[in-house]
């Protein structure tokens, strides 16, 4: 394809996708898909090779996806996790193929209670300072003695590795758009404050115990996190008001928390974070993995078009009924189907999902959750082909 044709294709796909995510009706249902750990083996690479070398990720996308007629992809960079930074800081909380794992092992997150209960007050008073001076030394074996030669070196190398990775990622994304015409799906990241607290700081066990033992501290910490989660989304997304910020949401899925606990601890500060980003014109892809059916009425209180709601195990009919007038819906195809189903079952599921969620627009076809490493290529291709076949308005 000539450069002009690819540029025209890119603009057409961008228009299709951005119309849908604003709950409008484009020419056809946009198709979004993520590159991930399912891909390297089909392109002849190991997991380690593509994690460490973004150029190989670009080649992998070009090998596998050049002839795919989809609109937008996400996942280049495999979650924005720079292996060189993990290695140079010897981070305890991530284990990667290479220094810690065999070349084709999925990366592991080593969850611990890195933040102790007695740290709450200091964290609430000065979050950024606490993270740099107290949290980083606990998660980084090379940075465990701030001020020492090894620690100073770890900080220099770690930040250089991050910058290097970010620069390479930007170039690779631009080349993929330029060569294949795929529009970007997301730009930047934010989280629910309760997840920021529970995922990486207190850990799941710690934060769930805190609900019983020190509920007021959770609430104070989450309130302290709100402006940081807003700013993190703005900074990592570059303030882009066209492409949404991505919010992977974890403990908010039922039944991690009971509905009363969800109301008290999870929802208020997530709502504030989303509203804070929307005040800047930035929408959020509400990546609701799991089942969020009990909470749909509350989610419906968010400002119109401020989110795109991803349907995983949430009741799709209810999601359409409660949220469909205000927000774009994404997903609805179970990721397990791509691993354990057949192409025929995938096609049937896509048709059913489009029939249910796509009328009147405001829908993007995708899986409802992360595509696992054992997803089969023929099923992925069946999803995309079915999306084009049944997705015309």
């Amino acid at each position: 394809m000539t450069e002009n044709k690819v540029e025209a294709l890119y603009q057409e796909r961008l228009e299709r996708y951005t119309t849908a995510i604003k709950n409008g009706k484009p020419d056809r249902v946009p198709i979004r898909f993520s590159i991930g750990e399912w891909a390297p083996r089909y392109a002849g690479y190991t997991l380690q090779e593509v994690y460490y070398d973004l150029e190989k990720q670009k080649e992998m996308v070009e090998k596998l996806m050049s002839n795919w007629d989809l609109d937008t992809i996400r996942g280049i960079g495999f979650g924005m996790i720079p292996p060189a930074m993990i290695d140079s800081m010897d981070l305890d909380f991530y284990h990667f193929p290479g220094m810690n794992l065999a070349e084709n092992q999925s990366f592991q997150y080593n969850e611990k209670e890195y933040m102790k209960a007695e740290d709450y007050d200091e964290f609430i008073a000065n979050p950024t300072e606490w993270v740099l001076n107290h949290y980083l030394p606990r998660i980084s074996k090379e940075f465990d003695s701030p001020g020492s030669y090894r620690s100073n070196l770890a900080l220099i190398k770690g930040s250089m590795a991050m910058q290097q990775f970010a620069g390479q990622l930007k170039e690779v994304n631009q080349e993929i758009s330029r060569n294949l015409g795929f529009a970007p799906a997301i730009k930047g990241i934010t989280k629910a404050p309760f997840d920021s607290l529970g995922d990486t700081l207190r850990g799941m066990k710690g934060v769930l115990m805190d609900i019983r033992r020190r509920p007021e501290k959770i609430k104070e910490a989450c309130e302290a996190l709100v402006p940081h989660n807003i700013n993190y989304g703005l900074i990592t997304g570059g303030g882009d008001t066209t492409i949404p910020v991505f919010a992977p949401l974890h403990r908010g899925a039922y039944p991690f928390l009971s509905p009363p606990h969800w109301e008290e601890f999870y929802w208020p500060t997530l709502k504030k974070t989303i509203e804070g980003l929307w005040e800047h014109g930035v929408s959020v892809t509400f990546f609701a993995e799991g089942d969020w059916t009990p909470f749909l009425e509350r989610i419906a209180e968010l400002p119109e078009k401020s989110i795109q709601f991803v349907v995983d195990q949430t009741d799709a009919t209810q999601a359409k009924k409660v949220l469909g007038d205000k927000f774009c819906l994404i997903g609805g195809v179970p990721t397990t189907l791509l691993s354990y189903g057949s192409p025929e079952e995938v096609e049937e599921c896509v048709k059913r999902t489009i029939d249910e969620l796509a009328p009147d627009g405001g829908y993007v076809l995708d899986t409802g959750s992360v595509v696992m490493a054992d997803a089969r290529l023929e099923n992925i291709e069946a999803l995309i082909e079915a999306g084009r076949k049944y997705g015309k308005y």
């Binding site: 000065n126 950024t128 300072e129 740099l132 402006p227 700013n231 900074i235």
Partner: protein
């Protein structure tokens, strides 16, 4: 050095904003806007580096 290490609470979105740094300087003889743009740009990158470890 002790003055710099006194309790300092950066605004969300910043680590040490240009405004905070400027308060420590007697004057800025050159074009302040150029320094500010450079300083705040790098400060944002430092902020996103620090908070990356939490926002995983």
């Amino acid at each position: 050095m002790q003055e710099k290490n006194k309790e300092f609470v950066p605004e969300p979105g910043t680590c040490l904003s240009w405004e905070a740094k400027k308060a420590e300087l007697e004057e800025v003889p050159g074009k302040e806007e150029i320094v500010k743009t450079s300083w705040d740009g790098l400060d944002k990158q430092a902020y996103s580096f620090i908070w990356w470890f939490v926002q995983r």
